[in-house]
Amino acid sequence: MTELLSLEAVSKNFDGVAAVVEVSLTVAAGASVALVGSGGAGKTTLLDLIAGALRPDQGHIRFDGREIAGLPPERVAALGIARAFDPPRPFPALSVEDNVVVGALLRERSLTEARRQALALLEPLGLAALRHRPAASLQPGERKRLDLARALATRPRLLLLDEILAEASPDEAAALAETLREFARRDGLTLLLAEHDRHTVAALAGRVLALEHGTLEPDPGAPAEAPP
């Protein structure tokens, strides 16, 4: 197995409150791993640390063998880690299409090419009909999918998803899960999902890790990790 992401004893405190405590984990290339925990367990903080939005107080974060702890978010994105936020953060005044174009511009030099790729991403996520609408006018579910489309446009190798399936109806969640699986298969994408409900991610994750109060608990009940 090739290790794509590894965390070693990563800790983060906020004013004396321990948000993440000595978390160590590895994610294999091509795998789909879920981090499950209740609100406040530290899932988003962990994603923030990996994505460079926060700097760990202790520990190492390695991506593809390279130390990335403390790198600014734009460097981390350039290296191939993208994220979808919770709550979603599309650029409000930009149109749906333009939002995704911004993501595509990380890898594309040509604006025309970036637009073409953006449109190609909007289709499978059901946003093509809304492409001229300003992102601020979208429904919450649509905003989440837009957030995801923008992240996918950066052609990442590792995709960090924060509560991507939460608040979706079972049908929507199933469709989204299928789309994600398809992207992962097609592009060799590695997924790290943060969710608060284990059952929601069951269809998608090959491996489930439980996070509680900033600490990772070993999960004996989870299946051995295997790429989807």
Binding site: G52, A53, A77, A78, R89, A93, V101, G103
Partner: protein, 358 residues
């Protein structure tokens, strides 16, 4: 950090083509976005502006030169503030670089002001890059940039005030060019410059850089997560905005035939474009132009009023400007343009609400 040399060369080579395309795009944007009423008004305004010297008297031409100058300067400032989200209170510095370079070359060297005019853009660009680099460092708040612009502009003003080489307090007087007493030439020059500014701004907004700026303005965190380097994008914005502002200074020097620290580099010189763009609408293309059409006549009306009165009413100008700024910030943060466009029915609603197919 600097753009690659071959990129710059390619940029310059393709510039005329891009500008022409951008002008065509601008035209198409306008056609698509405006209602019949908007189109009619636009055409009338353009016709009036194009033919002004033919039917307007000299005072009107002079007034319109002032309006168009502020519209131009406002566009340069607005690019930085409205699109890249960097609020500059020191644009007088970039304008001043243009003005002083033109003046210096006009007075020495025997080649007239034109070498200075050519040098003004790269010189101002350098200053913009420097100020951007100083003001946008990682880990500092956005307002830091604003403070840096304010302080550096003031520092240069004081320097110019004390340095005899730059004319000290009295300033520099340019020799009379052939265009003395012919405001018409200046009028068309500034009209063309303002049109060019609109084309250039639109070009930038639709470019890769423009997308990055808008993303940065909307949500710097999400922009960074999408791979946008905030520092580089901001420095680029400051550089370009400064480069755009320099010709305004060159124009000023040639038109007024006089540059001095108080007039060219003062805080009020910096505040002019700010007031115009804020009133018209920061972050819109039309905003600075509309704002100029409000600010300049108001300023001239106040000047007339102050001149006529027996009392010293000179405080009316800062009072009016201050009230305008506060009112805009509190009551109409988007400026006058959106409300006006809506009220007069000048713009069509955005595409998705029209019932057009996507």
């Amino acid at each position: 950090m600097m753009p690659k040399r071959q990129d710059l060369v390619r940029l310059i080579e393709t510039a005329p083509g891009r500008l022409a395309r951008s002008a065509a795009d601008l035209w198409r944007d306008w056609v698509d976005a405006t209602t019949w009423r908007g189109k009619t008004l636009g055409v009338l305004v353009l016709l009036a502006l194009a033919t002004l010297p033919a039917w307007g008297g000299t005072p009107l031409v002079a007034a319109m030169i002032a309006v168009l100058w502020l519209a131009y300067a406002g566009q340069a400032w607005n690019l930085l503030a409205g699109f890249a989200g960097l609020f500059s209170l020191g644009h007088a510095l970039f304008i001043g670089i243009g003005a002083y370079l033109a003046a210096a070359f006009a007075l020495h060297g025997g080649l007239g002001p034109w070498p200075g005019a050519l040098l003004a853009v790269p010189a101002a660009a350098l200053a913009g890059a420097g100020i951007g680099a100083l003001g946008c460092r990682a880990g500092l708040k956005g307002v830091h940039f604003t403070l840096v612009t304010l302080i550096l502009a003031e520092a240069v003003r004081l320097g110019a005030l004390h340095l005899d080489g730059l004319g000290a307090a009295a300033g520099l007087a340019l020799p009379h060019p052939a265009t003395a007493g012919k405001p018409v030439a200046f009028y068309y020059a500034i009209l063309i410059l303002t049109g060019l500014a609109l084309v250039v701004v639109r070009l930038l907004l639709r470019s890769r850089l423009g997308y990055r700026w808008l993303a940065l303005r909307e949500d710097p965190g999400a922009a960074a997560a999408s791979g946008i380097d905030p520092y580089r994008a901001r420095v680029a914005a400051a550089t370009i905005s400064a480069a755009l502002a320099a010709p305004a200074g060159v124009f000023l020097a040639l038109y007024l035939r006089h540059v001095d620290a108080e007039q060219t580099l003062s805080l009020s010189r910096s505040l002019g474009p700010v007031l115009g763009a804020a009133l018209g609408g920061i972050g819109t293309l039309v905003g600075p132009v509309l704002g100029a059409f409000v600010v300049v006549p108001a300023d001239q009306a106040l000047t007339w009023l102050i001149g006529r009165s027996h009392h010293d009413l000179s405080a009316l100008k800062p009072l009016a400007a201050g009230l305008a700024l506060v009112l805009v910030a509190v009551a109409a943060p988007g400026g006058l343009w959106p409300g006006l466009a809506r009220r007069l029915g000048l713009l069509k609603p955005p595409p998705d609400q029209r019932g057009d197919a996507a």
